[in-house]
Amino acid sequence: MTQNMVEIRWHGRGGQGTKTACLLLADAAFAAGKYVQGFPEYGPERMGAPITAYNRISDAVCTVHSNIYQPDYVVVVDESLLHTVDVTAGLKPEGAIVINSPKAPKALQPLLKGYAGRTYTIDARRISEAHLGGNFPNTPMLAAVVQVSKVLEVERFLADMTESFQHKFSTKPQVIKGNMNCLTESLKEVRAE
């Protein structure tokens, strides 16, 4: 595996847009000239069931086609998963975990099985409700993982996402502005403490 490859594991629940966020990150990284992988892990699919999705982002082509067991970063789109899924399994201590929660990272530490790396939180629910009028945590989480991992340059990321949303929401352009506001606010709202 190449030295500069970044591996990200997403944990969410069916219906929260976790796979979409994962694929949007792959899109943005592709637009920035990277080699990308974005793929979901499928089990019994139903609303609310825990789901996992993965990104590999690299300057060189990555041929590995397995799930990711030693991620550099973990994104938790639903805080309740901390009680049921071993989200920090294999997570590199020099990496980080980003959790959707209104709480401070310190408050969640006891649920992280002694994970010694950096922990961040972001109140994705509040941000998405403010800008999109509903609980759509995936867009804020996408911005949060870009901010924490620095896997993409922020200005470029925002420009590429504008284009991505214009394509994705070509039939409902009214939601583009809200999604972009979500991203820009989320970049600022990621908490380390």
């Binding site: 595996m1 694929l23 792959a26 899109d27 592709f30 080699y35 990308v36 992988q37 974005g38 793929f39 979901p40 892990e41 499928y42 082509v61 990555c62 041929t63 590995v64 086609h65 397995s66 799930n67 067991y69």
Partner: protein
């Protein structure tokens, strides 16, 4: 000029179908191939193709529709997986024996039961003796490229057999990765027009799928067997032209770091990419590891495969489907048979892995190579029929 894109394997195949603009698409969805008819339906709705899009009530009917359409003289395509392929089983044989070069996108998924949606090769391996050509892909790029080559191979005058273009369900079908696409005009020029020698609509009398008597049926089956042999040359010819046109090289298999390999794997599909990463790591430690990724399973390139393995000390054939014969999987049986006539046969084991979506990572592959190194060193093969990654550790040999 190739176009730099990022697509999932399913999108890539649907894209190839749009570029080819076949006469008929017979659609019946099944996970994980559902996206292919889904994307294609959008192309139809957008007027991007003038294909007749036939929605049917089952896979038996989708293959029957393809048979009717192809016999009438147009290119017919469909997509399926798992139980869907099983349901069209009878018609797979009818398509092949009627010598109709239909193209099927197979997104490999475990065949029931227990019911499971994840990837292995038990669906298409079950159809390995149906008379269809079978090409497999490591990633979306190869699925796309194989699809562009499929029709020219299948339609070759001395072949005229149906072809299935296989890729690993979810692992590549649902993974978005970088891909190089070709321009529509270049694809159309490469694939060319379909000019069948005989069709139902050409005017002169013709029967498709009639009863064949004892007096002639065996002759027809021998012709079919000969066509399968002829397909080897057609595959190499089309692959050579594809490389000349688009710059990407294909053959019966990819021999990866095999020149001086002492231990080697033979496998099919997406795990080849994982194994390549493993080979690179082992090579850095001085281990002479190699890999053969089989692209063409039907026809089986027995002679070429045996030649590629002739200098290797120990080989693990990796089967992503169960043989249910008590002694190994289908790829192992055919690879072992291919090597039987070698003067110096490599030691060979079968590793059944990845069944019903069981993940296979670089570390798993490394355990197989380490096992082969022990076999090469001691000459002791031990258990030849191994299941890898099983939860009950007492079954784990590796």
């Amino acid at each position: 000029m190739s176009i730099r894109e990022r697509l999932s394997g399913n999108e890539a195949v649907a894209h190839a179908m749009r570029q080819i603009n076949p006469g008929v698409f017979a659609a019946f969805p099944i996970t994980p191939s559902t996206e292919i008819p889904q994307y294609f339906a959008q192309y139809v709705a957008d007027g991007a193709v003038d294909t007749e899009y036939v929605t049917v009530e089952s896979e038996h009917s989708s293959m029957s529709t393809c048979i009717g359409a192809q016999a009438a003289g147009v290119r017919a395509v469909t997509a399926t997986s798992s139980a869907g392929m099983a349901f069209m089983y009878e018609m797979l044989y009818v398509a092949a024996s009627s010598r109709l070069p239909i193209t099927l996108a197979c997104v490999n998924r475990a065949l029931t039961g227990p019911i499971n949606i994840n990837n292995d090769h038990s669906d298409s391996m079950g159809a390995r003796d149906s008379g269809w050509l079978q090409l497999y892909a490591e990633n979306g790029q190869e699925a796309y490229d194989n699809f562009l080559q499929a029709m020219r191979i299948a339609e070759t005058a001395d072949v005229r057999l149906p072809i299935m273009i296989c890729q690993d369900g979810f692992i590549t079908s649902h993974a978005v990765e970088n891909i190089l696409l070709e321009e529509d005009a270049a694809v159309k020029a490469f694939v060319g027009d379909y000019t069948p020698r005989h069709t139902l609509l050409q005017g002169s009398a013709m029967a498709v799928g009639p009863y064949d008597t004892v007096a002639f049926c065996m002759e027809h089956k021998v012709q079919q067997a000969e066509a399968m042999k002829n397909a080897k040359r057609a595959i190499l010819n089309v692959s050579a032209d594809f490389e000349k046109t688009f710059g990407r090289k294909y053959g019966f298999f990819e021999a990866y770091r095999m020149e001086d390999a002492e231990v080697a794997l033979v496998l099919i599909g997406s795990t080849a990419g994982t194994a390549k990463a493993c080979v690179e790591g082992l090579r850095e430690k001085g281990v002479k590891a190699g890999l053969i990724k089989l692209r063409v399973f039907r026809p089986f390139p027995a002679k070429e495969l045996a030649a590629a393995l002739s200098h290797v000390k120990a080989v693990a054939v990796m089967d992503k489907s169960e043989g249910n014969n008590g002694c190994g999987g289908p790829l192992y049986a055919e690879t072992a048979a291919a090597c039987y006539d070698l003067a110096h046969r490599p030691k060979m084991i079968d590793v059944v892995y990845g069944v019903a979506g069981r993940d296979c990572e670089v570390g798993d592959i490394e355990r197989v190579y380490r096992h082969l190194l022990r076999i090469a060193e001691t000459g002791e093969v031990g258990e030849k029929y191994i299941h890898m990654g099983v939860r009950t550790s007492e079954q784990e040999v590796l």
